[in-house]
Symmetry: C2
Subunit: 255 residues, 2 copies
């Protein structure tokens, strides 16, 4: 099974998204797509005169923001991605974590920062995901989950990808691919050619201690290594093109 | 199987919606919920400075409006309904017609009026709906479909309810219940006590010719009788409370 996560940089660009979805539709075997949010939620907030507050790269989700991300992630983005995949003969089904109780989370406990309606994942419903996969449906998961008490929660898409990959590795051999705007883990963040093509956990710890890994990459890589430690077979990270182009440089992570 | 359609009047009122969802969650057997839009789409349009154009009770859907209804119907309303049903131990799954290619439609052909991105239904995918139903999932369908060429389309929720009920009557004994703001088909639109409790097709035609049925009711009743003519076992129409309260007055339609 292949689980691919795409972020805002692909979603913000209609042509890049179409190209990616074409490649994704041609992937053989069972697959899942997890998508992030993109600029559209902030754009809509701005148009409505609301302010987006980000702390440490994470959105603070008040009630009005929760409504906006639910509309944009679960509605606009998810359904347009599904419709485009359907046109490419990929039998996509767009889902939030509330649908079929796929991803149960809890509202993040307030410590120093109150992230509002942000969800931290408790459980992934592999049984229901497996029903879809076995019926040749391709789940397209947006970054909205629920607490099973009626509350929707805004949830980090990288973490959703990692937790779903881990949970499904009990049933399948799972490969997890994180697509983002860079060629992979870079030794020099300004040099796209400085990709570390193979990086194991020991090297990662060393680079982290040396401060060689950019801040934004740390949580992403923590998710990657956590996935490998919990049964995921393979984790790759790089530009969206890597899912089709065997030649393009990217990083392969291992324990 | 019971298919219930709720409209804007229930959705606009948080308390009425909660009460309805509670009753719906307690319905025995296989079930599907189809929901309309409510005022939220128009409210969001207004806030964004767009104008909603309605012709004959149907929204004209330009590109900006399509984005709004996709956000509101498939995102905000659908996911909040699903989360609330999940909290009531009803294993709901929120879906548009694009998901799993459930409802294929085509952009309405322009005759006198150009309705824009409005969908007329071509096909309902009973095979995939049956997979969900047999796995004890309860589909919650919003009023967005697709043309299988990548285009989402705004589609009348009454018609979705009727077409899905008809299609599933090949596999199940289907009861269709239309919930709206009145007690049923009224002889006098201003008198809630003038409910015609049993109405057959001959009576309907007679009342229609006499002009005794209000304009807004005509398409709804056409959908009802069309459903009965195409295999649906039973059609009832009335206030949302009718699904739980056996005593409340409503109309039962027959051929």
């Amino acid at each position: 099974m292949t689980l691919v996560k795409i972020g805002g940089n692909v979603i913000n660009n209609k042509k890049a998204l179409s190209s990616f979805l074409h490649d994704f539709s041609e992937l053989k075997g069972l697959k899942i797509l997890v998508h992030g949010g993109g600029k559209k939620a902030s754009e809509l907030s701005n148009k409505l005169g609301l302010e987006s507050t980000m702390i440490g790269g994470r959105r603070v989700t008040d009630q009005a923001t929760l409504e906006i991300v639910t509309m944009v992630y679960a509605g606009l983005l998810n359904k347009n991605i599904v419709a485009e995949l359907q046109s490419l003969a990929c039998n996509a089904i767009g889902l939030s974590g509330a649908d079929g109780n796929l991803i149960k989370s809890h509202k993040r406990i307030v410590q120093e920062i109150d992230y509002g309606f942000a969800g931290d994942i408790d459980a992934v419903n592999t049984e229901t995901l497996a029903i879809f996969l076995e019926k040749k449906l391709t789940p397209v998961l947006c970054a909205i989950t629920h607490d099973n008490k009626g509350q929707l929660l805004n949830t980090n898409a990288d973490t959703i990808a990692s937790e779903v990959a881990k949970a499904l590795s009990e049933l399948y051999q799972v490969e997890l691919i994180y697509c983002f705007e860079k060629n992979g883990v870079l030794l020099d963040v300004n040099d796209e050619n400085s990709v570390i093509e193979d990086i194991d956990h020991r090297q990662y710890e060393k680079l982290k201690q040396e401060g060689a890994i950019a801040d934004g990459m740390l949580p992403k890589l923590e998710n990657c290594f956590s996935s490998l430690q919990h049964g995921v077979m393979k984790v790759r990270i790089g530009k969206p093109e890597l899912i089709a182009d065997k030649g393009i440089k990217h990083s392969i992570l291992s324990l």
